[in-house]
Amino acid sequence: MSKKIYLSATLAALLSLPLYASAATDADLQVIREQIQQLRQSYEQRIAQLEQRLQQAESTGKRAEAVAEQAQTTVQQTVATPTAASSSNGGEGTFNPALSLILSGTYGSLQQDPTVPATGFAMSPNMGHEQGFNLGESELGIAANIDANYRGVATLALDPAGGISVENAYVQTSALGNGINLKFGRYFSGLGYLNEQHAHAWDFVDQPLVYAALWGNQLGEDGLQAKWLAPTDMFIELGAELGRGRGFPGSDRVKNGAGSGVLFAHIADDIGIEHSWRAGVSLHQTRADNRISDGVPDLPGTAGGVSNSFSGDSQTAGLDFVWKYSPNGNMRDRYVKVQGEYFRRKENGLLTYDLATANIADSYSVTQSGWYLQSVYQFMPHWRAGLRYDRLDSGIAAIGVLNAGNVIGNYAFNPTRTSLMLDYSPSEFSRLRLQLARDNSRQGLPDTQMFVQYIMSLGAHGAHQY
């Protein structure tokens, strides 16, 4: 082992020694070696120092650049956006949460008693009209992003007689992406075209007859809505809802599971810059449980009608379309809007006739339908005129033998109504409206109706849907 080390050391020494140095003495060699070593060390140190300094200079330079850039941008920012702190997503964020209040009221002049329901639809809620001066529902709206994932919306209806009802109170997802939007809580169902619109956005004082008779003006649900928007150039939206089924035609009940289901699909597009349209299909299904209706006329002709109760399935299908035209696509100046909807409902179940006295239950099945067609024309900025035609078909009911002599199966009358509207909106936030209607919805009781309405909005005014 030691032999090996010695050998390699000698070899190393031989190799490291320059040839000419062999003449010099060992001591001299040692001195020279040390000097070289020192020289090398000092050079290496200096080079290292230089390198270090260079690196430092470089990095400080970079830092200086970065600082300068930052300073520049902050200067730009401070100059540019003095209100940046209060700004955000356009309007709604100015207040957090966004608060809005809708004030509305009508004056109604009717020739007939508004408590008489449309002929053939006594088993639907009667939405009627108010006479004289009356305060409409004031609507208090609160909306804001809850966090990065959710947005909350609440609309409280302040009843003129006192009391508050929750019209909408829902949470919407905002971060799911992929065209998916979920909504849960209390909301207006996405079926049809008009159903989601709040009263202050209606083009007429009242809802079309078909909405009044088949949906109690508007179908509100407590439940869950899922919508998916296809990643296509054309607007294609599919939606589904599961709800409690608390509103007409369902009836509130205590049970697990869903009380109603809705499916809807919308397609829409533009034709050039001047035309746009949307078309939709909806399906609704629910079950009524002891849905009681009062004052229903019967075959024996009971004065004031009788109280009936219906339990059974209710299925509704609907079609809707809207088309809008505006010269140069400038909605501010002039536009025309044409819209129409058709709903057809089949109810099948058990009808209990005259709860108070006879109390006879037997099968009952009927298909009712209705449609409206309306057009609104803004003929100059701030001024609009509208025309609407409504029609209902109460259908011919199949009635079980036990009730064949009691329940009216065929009214042989189609309720219709024609309404004319003129409104003036001095600004986006105020609207005054005059409406005249020839109401033939009650057989033998034609009515000429006149309404004057105001709709004013205070506070944050969110964007309207199409």
């Binding site: 730009q76 100059v79 540019a80 956006t81 003095p82 209100t83 940046a84 209060s86 700004s87 955000s88 997503n89 356009g90 309007g91 709604e92 100015t94 947005r151 919407q172 905002s174 971060a175 799911l176 992406g177 992929n178 065209g179 998916i180 939007n181 919508k227 998916w228 928007l229 296809a230 990643p231 296509t232 150039d233 054309m234 607007f235 294609i236 939206e237 919308h266 829409a268 597009d269 533009d270 810059i273 746009s276 949307r278 809008k324 140069n328 696509g329 400038n330 909605m331 501010r332 100046d333 900025p381 701030h382 600004s427 986006e428 936030f429 969110g462 964007a463 309207h464 849907q465 199409y466």
Partner: protein
Amino acid sequence: MKNLLCASLLVLFSNSAHAALNVFACEPEWAALTQTLAGDQVSIYTATGALQDPHRIEARPSLIAKARRANLVVCTGAELEMAWLPVVLRESGNSAIHPGSSGYFEAASAVRMLDIPARLDRADGDIHAQGNPHIQTDARNFLPIADALSQRLIQLDPANTTHYQNKLVAFKQQWRAALKKWEQQAAPLKGTAIVVQHKGFPYLSNWLGLQEITALEPKPGMEPSAAHLGQVLNELKQHPAKMVLRAAYQDVRPSQWIAQRAHIAAVELPYTVGGNAAASDLFSLFDDTIARLLAGAK
């Protein structure tokens, strides 16, 4: 076989590396600027036309469908689009373009705002808390906006950083030269008294030194009434103006009414790219604007 696979994989990857950004531009001027700064790396949808009042657009389903697939939304901001954009963004179900995320760009955040209201009261008309949103009428504003927009494009598509940087440098060079030319051409306009139909020109006036006497709209966003036009006419007798300005999308009648009675020129400005046949891009937009102003001032 292996080579073929490698080759096809390469093609796939190179394709994804060159995939265009889908841009949803609220107004034509931002569509034009994005096109200039990104070239063939983007495919752009312009939500509004030059003849539409950008305040009053409907949240049409077609806009929602386009926003659904957008990687970047480029808008003016400052509440100009508040009547429709929030619904479009919300209904799109596209979380990448929500306000505050990198896919949402507001041009107004890059420039100094004018006409910031001291008080917020709807009785004052259609006013915007963050200042007048019509920032595109001052050509100088396009430089800081281009910087910010280019940065955003790089952030969203870092693979093409050099492409965007080169485009930005080229644009700024051309724009600076054009600015010099426009400012020289517009020098005689300095101090010219004008009347505006809508308060939509503070940035233009600030840039070219025009003097705004009054507006035909009694309150921003309100239609000029006969009574108010009479007042304006009286005011013009005391403080005469050279011309009355309006944007291409505005009703021609109030301007004409005043122009005939006060014997001044009624000047329709393109206002944005596509506002008239001559204003076909950002450069010709300002060429035409200044030419029309000079013609009106004669």
